[in-house]
Amino acid sequence: MASAIEVKNLHKSFGKTRALDGLELEVRTGEVHGFLGPNGAGKTTTIRVLLGLLKADSGSATLLDGDPWRDASELHRRLAYVPGDVTLWPNLSGGEVIDLLGRLRGGLDPKRRTDLLARFDLDPRKKGRAYSKGNRQKVALVAALASDVELLLLDEPTSGLDPLMEAQFREIIAEERKSGRTVLLSSHILSEVEALCDRVTIIREGKTVESGSLREMQHLLRTSIDVQLDTPDGQIAAMPGVHDLRVEGNHATFEVDTEHLNGVLVKLTGLGVHDLRSHPPTLEELFLRHYESAEAAR
């Protein structure tokens, strides 16, 4: 099994709203795969289709070599899911929910359960209605991570966690990767994906816009330049590969396509560089670019 998840040309509409419009997604076995997109892009819908909670209108989805709709309950023994907005049974304690979900997946490791409760600093005796959003999320995370499964589907799992717990979460995911589990991590927090994922898929409005390893994507990126010149100048705008130029007196900020970086630098030195700062491309910018270009195209 080379791919844990393979989604091809997936479509799903709710009434007139097109939630998924030809989505493609491939998650290889043993990798941590980032699933990125702005709110409402279709991340949760995709995961729900993969869980067999929603039936796709057209296209194909394969999960652990099975059909997520037809073989739902058998496949679910081999995976664990953490929803983005965790709702617990109000009259069940956190510990009861963890045990219930674990048993329903075919058992969980009691040692790991104890260990995770300690690491997440979670009191399992509180009733579901008494937990805060972050603590509800921890309950779902402990239940998922303490189960012995091949695949973890995590839908914005850290949206309610404080920075300390977020760090704890990253550490645990890194351990999971070492032990060979496959993880699909949906997120709109890019630093999280950057820190954890081998490959990413970026979606927007139900379509896949980019997919690949982070290294492969770097070449698509721009570098941000912040430069102080000797004289105010109008030449920068004409240089190839320059975008989003802003000039204030002698001070210019702009972005440049990485492939044109050298040419631009050469020309800049001719203008008398006083001070130059550049910062490396981040996924944030990649993401914003995809998002903004879509807005601009309308």
Binding site: S93, G95, L100
Partner: protein, 533 residues
């Protein structure tokens, strides 16, 4: 006044949120007495006819327990008595409305959002009570106006409208109190409905013993107060003071409790749970048991209490029938003493069957509630199947009503047997009469399951179907509705037992319809998307 800052804005918000549901119950309840007037005029056109009917009713404990007595042989008084269950329905509507706008809001975090704004500590509670009271007053005015339009005397029409409005206002205050006691909306509703059941029982038992010992029990029930305003029968306006006094007590208690407690807290404390799950909590059925058991126990207890009361007064129904020569004559015409007792129990079992169908619908809709509130998603993303999830809740919609009705039948049989003798036989007879209701109950549960499976967003329509069945059951015969309308309710098709003959065919048909509806619902759920609210 700082505590009540911006109450009026919140009141408008509550009215805005409830505009449809309020309009519906105000309309349905408001037109009922007026729509009964023409039937009463047609069936009992003369004073003599009405006097005869009055004497018959007032000497029949089954009628008395169901609707209360008739206080004068006027068209208005007969119509008012026939709509005698209305105050109970108004009380229920008021109670649920106030709880929804107080404890439910608090439980779901909306009150926190509101109270972080410029509002007083008591504003949310006050707004809920005021909005419900406004709805009750509108109902009262509508009732009065429609009765006057039917040509009935003004004073009596005002009295009946005032009785309805006062009942609504009183139970709004009571709802405000119970909402403070329990930390959850479900708990508050349970508490409120238990109180309502008690008021029903006190009135039913007291009225059934009218003129005898124990008749004073009725006065413990505000529904009886509504009757005691005596519309069109020498209005007793002072009864309104009772309503006012009780409202002040309940409202003061509500505000006092609300002032003392923290947001989100109840007066009854919340406890820590277990650190791990007990053995049974490892499959969908175990989870459904955990979700459903409180409801099951409360119905079993409620049905035991109902069975006890009705069983205990069954014998006095028989005694009353032989207490005076005139009545004995009348009773002989109706089929003798035994027939009168049978008729009484027949009425009671139908009423309990209708009540239990509310339980069946609630238990069946639990699966939808789990789904709408997002708890089906984590469950169904495990190895739990759709069948397992939906089927587990259906088990409780099937077994629960059977246990509840069996409890009522057995307890009624024991209580009746203890006073009238022949306990063993009475238990079997009344258990049978209780079980006969089940096919009709299951049809309504089946409607809920089918809606859940096919059109989940409309699943609560099952309550409308159930309400229609109750309405047809109670008011259909009074309105002289044509047979096809009566036939729409599954309860119409049940044999009248005890006393009547048991025919198997209609029971088998109802059971088959119920099974078909449930199967359609389960298959539909397997094939559709899991959706949110």
């Amino acid at each position: 006044m700082k505590d009540l800052l911006n109450t009026w804005r919140l009141t408008l918000l509550a009215l805005r949120r409830d505009r449809w549901i309020m309009a519906i119950w105000i309309f349905i309840i408001g037109i009922t007495p007026a729509s009964l007037v023409s039937t009463v005029k047609a069936v009992y056109p003369t004073l003599a006819a009405r006097t005869g009917y009055m004497n018959l009713t007032n000497s029949n404990p089954a009628f008395l327990a169901n609707y209360g007595p008739i206080y004068a042989p006027t068209v208005g008084a007969v119509s008012a008595q026939r709509s005698g269950t209305m105050p109970l329905i108004i009380a229920l509507a008021a109670l649920l409305t106030v709880i929804r706008h107080t404890r439910t809001d608090e439980e779901q975090g909306r009150r926190e959002l509101v109270e972080a704004g410029v509002v007083g500590r008591q504003s949310s509670l006050a707004a809920a009570v005021i909005a419900t009271s406004i709805a009750s007053l509108v109902l009262g005015v509508l009732t009065t106006a429609l009765l006057v339009a039917q040509g009935l005397p003004l004073a009596g029409s005002i009295a009946l409208g005032a009785a309805y409005a006062a009942t609504g206002v009183l139970y709004a205050g009571l709802g405000g109190s119970v909402a403070q006691l329990s930390q959850t909306a479900g708990g508050a509703r349970g508490l409120g409905i238990s109180i309502l059941a008690a008021t029903l029982l006190f009135r039913a038992v007291g009225d059934a013993r009218m003129g005898g010992s124990g008749a004073w029990l009725s006065w413990l029930s505000p529904v009886h107060w509504a009757h005691q305003l005596r519309p069109y029968a020498g209005e007793q306006w002072w009864v309104l003071l009772l309503f006012a006094g009780a409202f002040i007590v309940f409202a003061a208690a509500a505000f006092a409790l609300n002032a003392q407690r923290d947001l989100g807290a109840g007066i009854l404390p919340a406890r820590l749970g277990r650190a791990g799950a007990p053995g049974y909590l490892g499959n969908p059925l175990g989870l459904a048991w955990r979700q459903q058991r409180a409801l099951l126990w409360s119905w079993v207890i409620g049905m035991a209490v109902m069975g006890l009361f009705f069983g205990a007064i069954g014998n006095s129904v028989g005694q009353l029938a032989t207490s005076s020569a005139g009545i004995t004559n009348l009773v002989d015409k109706l089929g003798g003493r035994g027939a009168l007792v049978d008729q009484f129990f027949g009425f009671m079992m139908t009423a309990l069957g209708l009540a239990v169908s509310a339980y069946a619908v609630q238990a069946a809709l639990r699966a939808r509630r789990e789904e709408a509130e997002g708890r089906a998603e984590p469950l169904l993303s495990t190895a739990a199947t759709r069948w397992g999830f939906a089927g587990s809740h259906l088990v409780f919609a099937i077994v629960g009503p059977a246990i509840a009705l069996a409890t009522a039948g057995v307890v009624a049989g024991l209580a009746y047997g203890a006073t009238a003798g022949n306990t063993g036989a009475e238990v079997w007879r009344l258990l049978g009469a209780a079980f006969i209701q089940l096919p009709a109950v299951y049809v309504l549960a089946g409607v809920a399951v089918a809606l859940f499976g096919l059109v989940p967003r409309w699943a609560s329509l099952a309550w409308g179907v159930m309400g229609a069945a109750v309405f047809v059951g109670i008011f259909g015969p009074l309105l002289n509705a044509s047979q096809w309308i009566l036939d729409l309710s599954p309860f119409t098709h049940l044999p009248r037992v005890p006393g009547g003959e048991i025919t198997v065919a209609p029971l088998a048909w109802l059971a088959a319809i119920a099974v078909a509806l449930m199967a359609v619902g389960l298959v539909g759920f397997r094939r559709r998307d899991v959706t949110g609210g």
